[in-house]
Symmetry: C2
Subunit: 349 residues, 2 copies
C-alpha cells in the first residue's frame, strides 16, 4: 500500500460511510464558487488544453510571486517529481519521507542514496553533507510526509548553501505549504537561484485530489529543460480550468488556514493525553503517531471496524509497524477519532 | 512544433475563428449525452479517483473484449507509451511515425533504433528483421501517424511472429482505431499473447482531447509490471467519469464511423484532382500530402491567413519540407479547405 485514500478497498469492512483519515485533504472541501465556474463551459473542458498552459501559468505565477516563465505545471506534484528525477543521475532522500521520491528514482533507474533523519525526524545535516556531490538531486519534503514538521528556515538555508557549493540541485516538495504557519516562504528565500525547484499542489489544500494539479517554481532555464522531459497536455482541461480559478479565493484560503490550525491544536493536545501514543509535533494537516507496546495493524483494524480509515506508516522507509499517520479533519470527525482512540485503550486492557 | 492543435499560437494571424485541420479529432464532437452525465455529480469529480480504476477498467474491458485485469489506463495514449518504454532497454521505430515514440525513448535514455519505411510508407519488414533482438520494444502506429494507412493483417501477423521469435515486445499504437474500416481487430488477433500491448484512446474518436484518457490491452502479467512504473492517479476523476460513459454510445460510434468514411472519401477524391498534390491513401481521419514543387511553409501561411491551420509535417523524422498533414473534418470545413487549396494553385501561377 503506497498511498492513503483508497477507501474503496476497505468499504466491505464497515457498514456505512468510512471517514478517511488516511489521506490529507482540506476538510472544508473545495472553494464553494468552483462548481459554477467549472461547469459553465462544457465545450471548453473537452478541447485540448493550451499545450503551453499560458493562462494557467500566469495565474500561478501571480499566486506564487514569480513570473509565468518560472512556472512548471504537472499531473499532481508527483509528475513533476518524476520528470525532475529524469534530469539527474543520482537522487538523495532523507528517510522517512514520501514514498514516491524513492519510487520515481527507481522507476527511472537512477541511483538512489537514502540518508536517515535524526531520531526526532529532523534533517541530519552531516549525513547529507557526507554523500552529496556534483550533479546530485536532493529531494526534501517541507513539511515532510509522514513526519509533519517543516524544515527550520536556517537549516533550509544551510542545506541550500551546501547544495550550491557542491553544484547539486535542491527539490523542495511543499505540497502541504498552505496548511503551515506563515514563518517563511521558500520561494522568496531562493528566488532567482538556478539550482532549486519548489513544488506545490492544488490537491491537498484546495481539496481537489480528483483534479490532479501540481505546480512548481524554478528558474526559467530549468523550466526550458523540464519541457524536454514532460508529457504533452498532462494537465487536462478540467484541471487547467480549475487552476485558473482557485488562487483568487483569498477568503477561502484564510479560513482554511485558521480552521486547520485550530483543529491541529485540538488533535495534538487530545492525542498527547492518550498514554499509548507518542505524538510527533506537526506544522500541517497530518500527524505521525508512534504506538507504544503494540502494532499498527491492531489499531488499524479496530478503527476500520468502527468506520475510520487511518494510514499504517510501516510502508514508509525507515518506519516500523509501530507508526500510524492521521489527517487533521473536520471537528466532528476529529472528535470521533479521539473518542475511539480512548476506547481502544480500554478495549486493550 | 512537436504537435498539432496549438491554435492559440496562431490566433493573431487571422481575424476570426481558425478551423483546426492540424489536430485529428472527430468532427461530430463528443457524445451528446456526456455533459449531463459528467456534470451531475460535482463532488465526485473532486474526490481522488479509485487508485486501481476498478470500474473504469471494467467498462473498458467490455468495450475491448478482454478482462479488466488485462487493461491499462493512462493520461492519454502518450503516458502509456512513456511507461512501456521504461520497461525496455532498446526501442525500435519505423519512421516516419508519431514523434513521441522517439521523444519518449530519448527522455527515458533508452537506445533508439530508427528504421525507415518503404517509399510508399508501408512497413519495411527486412529492415526491422535486421535489427530486432531479444528484449527490444518495437513500436508501430496502426494506422500510422502521419502517413494514415493501417498495417495489413498478414503483415502485422508476420511482424508479431518475428517479434515473438526474437523474444522482443510489440507495442501497437491504435489511437485512431475506430476511424478505420472494420477489416480486423488486433486485440482479437493477439489475445492471450504475452509480448504485445495494443493502445487505444478516447482523445480522437470520442472527441475528448481535453480529458486525456488512453487505455490499452495487454496480458495481466504485463499489467502487473506496468503498475510498478506508472504514476498514481494519472487519470483524473473527470476523465475517469467520462471513460465510464462513452463506450456505451453505440449509435454515436456507428454514426461517427460512417461520417468519417464519407468525408474521407470526399477529401481523397477532391485532393486527387489537385495537380500540385501527391495524395497518400488513408484508412483514418487524417491524410498526408506531398507538395510538388514548393514547400509546406508557403501553403501553411496561405491557409492560415484564410483561417485554416494545417500541420506542417517536416517535424516528423524522415519527412522533408514538402509534406503536410490535414485532418478529415466536417463537410463544410472540408469544402472550404478544398476550395482554398484550388485557389492556392491559381495564386501561385
Amino acid at each position: 500500500m503506497r498511498h492513503g485514500g483508497d477507501v474503496i478497498s476497505y468499504a466491505e469492512h464497515y457498514n456505512g460511510e468510512i471517514i478517511d483519515f488516511s489521506s490529507n485533504i482540506n476538510p472544508l472541501g473545495a472553494p464553494k464558487t468552483l462548481k459554477k465556474k467549472l461547469f459553465s463551459d462544457f465545450n471548453n473542458v473537452l478541447k485540448y488544453p493550451d499545450i503551453k498552459y499560458r493562462e494557467l501559468k500566469e495565474e500561478i505565477s501571480e499566486y506564487l510571486g514569480c513570473t509565468a516563465c518560472e512556472v512548471i505545471v504537472g499531473n499532481g506534484a508527483v509528475e513533476i517529481i518524476d520528470n525532475i528525477c529524469r534530469m539527474f543521475k543520482r537522487v538523495i532522500v532523507a528517510a522517512p519521507c514520501f514514498s514516491e521520491y524513492l519510487e520515481r528514482a527507481e522507476v527511472n533507474k537512477i541511483q538512489l542514496i537514502i540518508t536517515r533523519r535524526r531520531e526526532d525526524f529532523e534533517i541530519d545535516f552531516p549525513s547529507i553533507s557526507k554523500v552529496i556531490k556534483e550533479g546530485d538531486l536532493l529531494i526534501l519534503g517541507n513539511p515532510n510526509n509522514p513526519t509533519g514538521k517543516r524544515i527550520g528556515r536556517e537549516v533550509l538555508e544551510d542545506i541550500y548553501d551546501l547544495v550550491n557549493k557542491r553544484n547539486a540541485f535542491l527539490l523542495i516538495d511543499e505540497a502541504f505549504f498552505e496548511f503551515c504557519p506563515d514563518d517563511y516562504d521558500s520561494i522568496k528565500l531562493f528566488y532567482g537561484k538556478n539550482n532549486v525547484c519548489i513544488i506545490r499542489a492544488a490537491t491537498k489544500f484546495f481539496a481537489l485530489p480528483g483534479i490532479r494539479l501540481g505546480y512548481a517554481y524554478t528558474s526559467s532555464e530549468v523550466v526550458k529543460n523540464y519541457d524536454n522531459y514532460c508529457l504533452p497536455w498532462s494537465v487536462n482541461s478540467f484541471a487547467e480550468r480549475a487552476g485558473r480559478e482557485i488562487f483568487k479565493e483569498e477568503e477561502y484560503i484564510r479560513e482554511s488556514k485558521e480552521y486547520i490550525s485550530r483543529q491541529r491544536n485540538y488533535l495534538l493536545n487530545s492525542l498527547r493525553n492518550i498514554n499509548y501514543l507518542k505524538v510527533f509535533d506537526s506544522d500541517c494537516n497530518f500527524i505521525l503517531l508512534k504506538l507504544i507496546n503494540f502494532e499498527e495493524e491492531e489499531l488499524f483494524n479496530f478503527l476500520l471496524k468502527r468506520g475510520i480509515l487511518i494510514r499504517r506508516a510501516s510502508s514508509f522507509q525507515g518506519l516500523d509497524e509501530s507508526y500510524v499517520r492521521i489527517a487533521v479533519k473536520d471537528n466532528k470527525s476529529n472528535k470521533k477519532l479521539i473518542k475511539l482512540l480512548k476506547e481502544f485503550e480500554k478495549w486493550k486492557l
